[in-house]
Point group: C2
Chain length 414, copies 2
Amino acid sequence: MINSITGGVTAAQGFQASCCAAGIKYKDRVDMAMVYSDAPCAVAGVFTSNVVKAAPVVWDRQIVQNVKQAQAVVVNAGIANAATGPAGMAMCEETAAFASKTLNIPAEYVLLGSTGVIGPGLPMDRITAGVGMLAEKLSDTLEAGTAASKAIMTTDTVNKECAVTFELPAADGSGSVTVTLGGMSKGSGMIHPNMCTMLCYITTDCAIAQALMQRAVEDIVKDTFNMISVDGDTSTNDTLLVLANGKAGNAPITADGEAYQTFREALFTVCRALAIKMAGDGEGATRLMEMRVINADTKEHARTLARSVIGSSLVKAMVFGKDANCGRILCALGYAGVDFDPAVIELYLLGENENLCFYKDGCVQNFDEDKALAILSENAVRFRVDMKMGDQEATAWGCDLTYDYVKINGDYRS
Amino acid sequence: MINSITGGVTAAQGFQASCCAAGIKYKDRVDMAMVYSDAPCAVAGVFTSNVVKAAPVVWDRQIVQNVKQAQAVVVNAGIANAATGPAGMAMCEETAAFASKTLNIPAEYVLLGSTGVIGPGLPMDRITAGVGMLAEKLSDTLEAGTAASKAIMTTDTVNKECAVTFELPAADGSGSVTVTLGGMSKGSGMIHPNMCTMLCYITTDCAIAQALMQRAVEDIVKDTFNMISVDGDTSTNDTLLVLANGKAGNAPITADGEAYQTFREALFTVCRALAIKMAGDGEGATRLMEMRVINADTKEHARTLARSVIGSSLVKAMVFGKDANCGRILCALGYAGVDFDPAVIELYLLGENENLCFYKDGCVQNFDEDKALAILSENAVRFRVDMKMGDQEATAWGCDLTYDYVKINGDYRS
């Protein structure tokens, strides 16, 4: 059983976090964060599929693939360190070297994350000064985790944290131990993950083999972070990292089995919750949108159909306007690239108290416009389509398209 | 040589057009149009790739594939006759039957087009009354063609027409004859054609074999209508039809050769001009955006890269805000699904008098922000990327993302 608890990256044993105002780009706000484990961690991760990869993505990927262990994460908001060429990689090296010296850990145990404007280089004097402050302020309190989750925000309006506990057999055979897994993430523009999402860091005190954890991560992103879209743009910086330090004292998970499945469920729960938080806090968004596809012929078709609707500008604008223009959902299903029979599918708007049938038997149905308006005014707008082709399903999450999205992105750099 | 002339669907010999206010949905404006040829025409066409196809698309496709001839087109704006099931097809049959009787031509020579809201059925009494008015008002003047191009508008802000003439060898061997080709089209939301565009009708007095004309149409849409995007949504109603009545008296084109290539160039010129007009008049748009990809390894990769940039919400919002946030263009190239080396490509902003280098050698360049603002304020915003991989190129056209797009689409039905 997976229990939700309060907390984020410091919920699990042995993890500390901190933040500081380094003055990278924003004024009068925290803009750097550090996550630290007092013991080396197995590290798993997935990264952007964008051909143009930010320097910290190249840096982290190398650690996940070759070093497979890490002990600290240093993140800055404001500048993405992307499209910065060899100089950008040198900035990564310098940051990691400085953190290595300050924290007294190997430089290849220092993961890096950057988010913000693409193009400019990092102000290295402020970055290194920031690393110094971060190392001094490390704390294992829940508040320190929350503060770190606020420091990595860009256009996010709320910070995003989530944590769970679960029971696993103890290493010493004496019954069970409680394992904790928690994380933080940030959105909220350039969000259309294709491997994983913008920046998400998850920590756990679970003892688990690195290869198995990597497998769980790659598996889980397909139904969580890869199923959300704010604007269809896959960022250069997308990063999901999971650090496991083994401090919970569970019997190490080294193969698929009951313990692995429990760990997987816990990781899925946290990733799903963080993904939904990111979708609902998309740039300028007023409402979360959810599209559930049921009875598709294959899982991949279900995902593709759900994502197509979530990504449609016309559907997003209609949700903003609370306009039950359901033909746009049909249209977005139709151009998803999946074959189906429009004469048999059924489309519903799901309300908290009542569902409305938008479309069946090949025709848009007559529905009560007042009821539709009421449901479209709920905090989360949920649609469900029954493809009547098989038993596979998938859900995607997004948000509405608003004036504020245009405003935020019409003049982001200033 | 291809000469631009004034005119649209009535520019070519033997074609007439008309329009009327049938009260389909809009009040106090023309909303139905007819195009008629006084002789049967060879007809070629391409249609939406959307699985959910509007009834008139199904109707027209059957004519293009089986009948291969036509003599009239009846179009209404306001209601799309899509997602209307078997009743929608019956409406097509009834409309064509009524036009057949009124115009004294076979019902299978009557092409149909609808654009507007998805879902509702057509008000058949108004449609048939409209067909009667249209038949009475037919005229071969250029003004009649222009009036028809206005009647098919929905959220378009300007009507879209284009016509050209070219010389071909005469059928009787007595030198050359002048052939005319002209067309009209409408946008401006749900525009992301994938086979062809929303509604476009082209007429010509050229004598050409139907199969050859169909080949030219399928070939040309790839670099014209399929290279524009307003909002990434591929409509249920996309239709491009070309009618050729042979009245110019040219030696009929029955095989590839010089005459076919001249015809192809003329058709390309008109399709390209109409496609660019549609992109520039996208819903809410203030400016046309052009993305040219040069030196790609394959034509298809060049197209894919150009389309990815044109479709990016972040790039579109940046063009609206006149913000030279060029990292977003790089990002959109990077997630297009085409592999390339970010260290060698070069990206430019093309001004009327000067070009600015945004990115080369793997880094965003320092450029004069005032000059960038001046160029981004021009009527058409043009970008060029040199992939340095081969010699293939492609250009895509789109528009900026504005408050008005959200406004128009947040409450389209009312």
